[in-house]
């Protein structure tokens, strides 16, 4: 990571685990370790914040809805069957 001269082993730990952290798939011990580190490392705190935001925005935009026409035909299928 650019400009992270002060990257510690804990920073690397965050880097290795942030994806699973964002997915909510990290085990509780690791979650505590990530959270303990970001409280004392502004770089990692900012990094994790950005990663979560980007992830949230992408997922939000991909959340397309079913067309009304489809919704209607499915309801009538369920009704008449």
């Amino acid at each position: 990571m650019k400009g992270w001269e002060s990257m510690s082993p804990e920073c690397l730990f965050v880097l290795d685990n942030y994806n699973d952290y964002i997915s909510g798939e990290l085990d509780p011990d690791r979650v505590s370790r990530v959270e303990a580190h970001i409280r004392s490392c502004p770089n990692c705190e900012i990094f994790l914040g950005k990663a979560s935001r980007i992830h949230g925005r992408t997922a939000g935009l991909l959340r397309v809805q079913a067309p009304q026409t489809l919704r209607k035909s499915i309801s009538s299928l369920l009704e008449k069957t």
Binding site: M1, K2, G3, L15, N19, D20, S23, G24, E25, F47, K50, A51, R53, I54, H55, R57, T58, A59, G60, L61, L62, R63, V64, Q65, A66, P67, Q68, T69, L70, R71, S73, I74, S75, L77, L78, T81
Partner: protein
């Protein structure tokens, strides 16, 4: 005069609640709106015939996805053999309301969102079907790694690595919108 069983009603509820999500999964598989609607209809028709195998309280969405995936791959196989797949023939009008989400109401935000969506769509289309699948299931639909692994019939480790890689690729392709690069490149 036949009243619907409790199981049947629960099933119908699951279908309606999961309709958006089924449509998104169909769109991911077939990549066009009309075919996606057809695929959802076919999935509902098939699963209706199998409601006796539906168990209340189980993961209905995963079950519906599995049925959809089967239909899709069977149709694709049939097509590649030159046979005509049995299509659902009821009236299906083209859905032009693909992007009717109601997240940001202001006009400018809506404009921005549509532009971003177009790019996200392009970026997603550039990912292989394998990568797109995990993004959709984990990030959009919120399935766990384990559930995704089960739906796609791949190991959990593969889900994890594909997801991490796909996110990095998406982020790279969409970096103009996220004018805050992560400064990290997974490869």
């Amino acid at each position: 005069m036949n009243t619907k069983s409790e199981n049947r009603l629960a099933f119908e509820n699951e279908v309606m609640v999961n309709l958006d999500s089924m449509y998104r999964y169909a769109l991911h598989l077939v990549r066009n709106q009309d075919d996606a609607s057809d695929l959802v209809q076919e999935t509902c028709a098939r699963s209706l015939k199998a409601t006796n195998r539906f168990k209340q309280g189980t993961n209905a969405r995963a079950w519906l996805y599995a049925i959809m995936r089967n239909i899709f791959f069977n149709q694709r196989r049939a097509k590649s053999r030159g046979e005509i797949p049995s299509n659902w023939t009821d009236e299906v009008e083209s859905g032009d309301q693909r992007f009717t989400g109601s997240v940001w109401p202001q006009p400018f935000e809506m404009f921005l969102r549509d532009m971003m969506r177009e790019d996200i769509d392009k970026a997603m289309a550039m990912l292989s079907i394998d990568f797109r699948g995990v993004v959709l299931l984990c990030d959009v639909e919120g399935f766990s790694y384990a559930e995704t692994a089960e739906i796609l019939d791949i190991p959990v480790g593969t889900v994890r690595s594909r997801l991490h890689r796909a996110r990095a690729l998406l982020q790279k392709m969409l970096s103009q919108w996220f004018n805050e690069g992560l400064g990290v490149n997974e490869s």
